[in-house]
């Protein structure tokens, strides 16, 4: 019987591409309502690990459950319960804000009425009333990002996967974006976020640091700093990379 407080659980999860092992036997648990940071340098295997969890990649070995469902056999069930925001923001640039919301709401099977209500609430929360009929391509990057995140949450998923959501935006917008993430976590949504910005790690409840496909450290930011005798996450990361 799966524990309802466990959102994600993996055991020896591995992905090999030919002779290259992208993700090497990772084992961890993510609790319900937690903000779980998945850190690592580019190419450390963060995105591959995430794609095995959200059904885009088939694992080579190991076990994993997401929202209590098995990633091998029950990916259809998983897909209904997760939201996903890819590195590229995944909005249609030639559609307006409203049309994007309507489309993504539609593919998750929301009713027309629900879409209308959610659109209104979302547009109000993001202060986008004036641009709701503007094409997404003319919005600033930070807005696109917030919109993309809100759309990933449109169907009230239990878990939301964010793949480097803050790439290429300024620190102020990044801070605003993290406020949205906190709001979601407070409503009970589990947030699984990958990043290579070490300062963002401080915002997470717990973090795991991946180096060359393995999880080298896992814990709260405070624990990790204490264990490595570091003043900030940057130092933790550098020490880990050097010890290797």
């Amino acid at each position: 019987m799966p524990d309802p407080q466990i959102a994600i659980k993996t055991d020896g999860l591995t992905k090999e591409f030919g002779s290259f092992t992208a993700v090497n036997a990772i084992t961890f648990e993510v609790h319900r309502g937690e903000i779980f940071g998945f850190l690592g340098a580019n190419g450390a295997g963060k995105t591959t690990a995430m794609k095995m969890l959200n059904g885009l990649l088939k694992p080579t070995r190991g076990r994993a459950t997401v929202a209590g469902f098995d990633v091998y056999r029950e990916s259809e069930q998983i897909k209904k319960r997760i939201g996903y925001m890819s590195q590229k923001f995944s909005l249609y640039e030639d559609l307006t804000v409203r049309e994007n919301i309507r489309f993504y709401g539609g593919i998750y099977g929301l009713s027309r009425k629900a879409i209308r209500e959610k659109t209104a609430a979302l547009v109000e929360r993001l202060h986008m009333e004036e641009v709701k009929d503007t094409l997404v391509k003319s919005l600033p990057l930070g807005w696109k990002q917030k919109l993309s995140f809100s759309i990933a949450l449109l169907h009230d998923p239990a878990i939301v996967f964010l793949d480097e959501p803050t790439g290429g935006v300024d620190p102020v917008t990044r801070r605003q974006f993290w406020n949205l993430i906190y709001d979601a976590a407070e409503r009970g949504v589990t947030v699984f976020v990958t990043t290579h910005y070490m300062d963002e790690a401080e915002y997470c409840g717990r973090i795991s640091i991946m180096v060359d496909g393995r999880i080298e450290a896992l814990g709260t930011p405070g624990e990790l700093k204490a264990r490595f005798g570091a003043a900030n996450m940057d130092e933790v990361f550098l020490k880990l990379a050097r010890n290797k």
Binding site: L56, K79, Y84, S86, Y92
Partner: protein, 368 residues
């Protein structure tokens, strides 16, 4: 079903908001038909000729008049010497020259033999051949009249009749060709670009991470292009019929069914291309190089398949367009029913099934 509607509407938004796509979708067919119909033509009409008459007698005048009254030729210049004739050719406007030797009528009466020289500008070999052919035929005709009843023991008179396209209008050849190319372009190239665009934007990942089945993603993606392709085919057929007087002798429903079959084959090809590439540019290059070129060159649209070297003839068999062009011509010009084009239809169906199976197999539920 509802999700389908949402998908299709979204796809139309994409299409109608992209000027380039719109231009290819709606500008191209019209421009191509009109270009091929009017500008590029194999017919000879009022070709400019020069007549160098070194004899100036009643017979050379008779022959000249006969040539000029045929409608195929107009007199452009009357050079006085070989030098002037050469100049006339170099100017480039003269396509054919007729040279009568001196004392033409006298020789014909005395020696029973006189010469006419036909000189054609063979920089364009097809036209030169045709001009020579027309001119020779007219001169032969005149000779028959001149001789009265030839005193030959036997005569064989070939009676030539051009069936299905008696006036040998080239537009009859181009309309099926243009339909084929446009359908290939819209169905295969545009869909492969549309799918790879979603891969590039990263939206494909999000779609695949959603509960929609990949099969529906693909079908939702191609239906708008199927509709637009059918629309395009109708526009081209109407232009062909009303503007160029091309007949549709056979059953219109059968024709549209075959068109749909070809569209499905092309769509499957487009999807197949998009499963193998991840950038729009590569998809476009592959579509152009691997689909458009063979379609234009090997399908029999411009160059007759029968005249190709054997290896190319063999290769042409795997080009769907070759079979489709045969089908369209047979239905439109010969008015045949399904029975006569069953073989071609089955081959095309087989190809469609093959490519659909291939792309379904290749379209990865889980992205690489």
């Amino acid at each position: 079903m509802k999700i389908f509607g949402i998908f299709i509407r979204k796809e139309f938004w994409h299409i109608f908001r992209d000027k380039r796509t719109l231009l290819i979708l709606f500008g191209m067919p019209v421009v191509q038909v009109i270009l091929f119909g009017f500008a590029i033509t194999n017919e000879i009409k009022e070709a400019k000729i020069a007549i160098l008459d070194k004899s100036h007698d009643h017979l050379t005048r008779q022959i000249s008049n006969k040539l000029l009254s045929s409608g195929y030729f107009i007199l452009y210049s009357q050079p006085e010497s070989d030098n002037q004739l050469e100049k006339a050719f170099q100017e480039g406007k003269t396509k054919l020259a007729v040279v009568f030797e001196p004392e033409f009528a006298q020789r014909l009466n005395k020696d029973r033999h006189a010469g006419i020289q036909l000189i054609a500008d063979a920089t364009d070999p097809n036209t030169a051949n045709m001009l020579i052919g027309y001119a020779s035929a007219i001169i032969r005709n005149w000779q028959m009249d001149f001789l009265g009843n030839p005193k030959l023991p036997y005569t064989i008179t070939p009676e030539v009749k051009m069936v299905y396209n008696p006036e040998m209008k080239s537009v009859f050849m181009f309309v099926p060709g243009v339909i084929t190319i446009i359908l290939m372009l819209v169905s295969a190239m545009m869909t492969s670009i549309a799918v790879t665009r979603e891969k590039e934007l990263g939206t494909m990942e999000v779609l695949l991470a959603s509960p929609i089945k990949p099969f529906f993603i693909i079908v939702g993606k191609v239906i708008p292009y199927l509709v637009l392709s059918l629309f395009n085919a109708s526009v081209i057929l109407m232009l062909g019929t009303f503007l160029f007087g091309m007949p549709i002798e056979g059953n219109l429903l059968l024709l549209m069914a075959e068109v749909t079959l070809f569209i499905i084959t092309s769509l499957a090809l487009g999807i197949f291309i998009s499963t193998r590439t991840s950038s729009q540019q590569t998809a476009m290059m592959i579509s152009l190089m691997a689909l458009m070129l063979p379609t234009i060159i090997l399908s029999g649209f411009i160059f007759p398949v029968e005249n190709m070297p054997l290896p190319l003839q063999v290769i042409s068999n795997i080009i769907p367009a070759k079979w489709f062009i045969i089908i369209v011509k047979s239905i439109m010009l010969k008015g045949v029913g399904l029975g006569e084009i069953l073989k071609e239809t089955l081959i095309l169906t087989g190809m469609a099934a093959f490519f659909i199976a291939l792309s379904v197999k290749n379209f990865k539920i889980r992205l690489e």
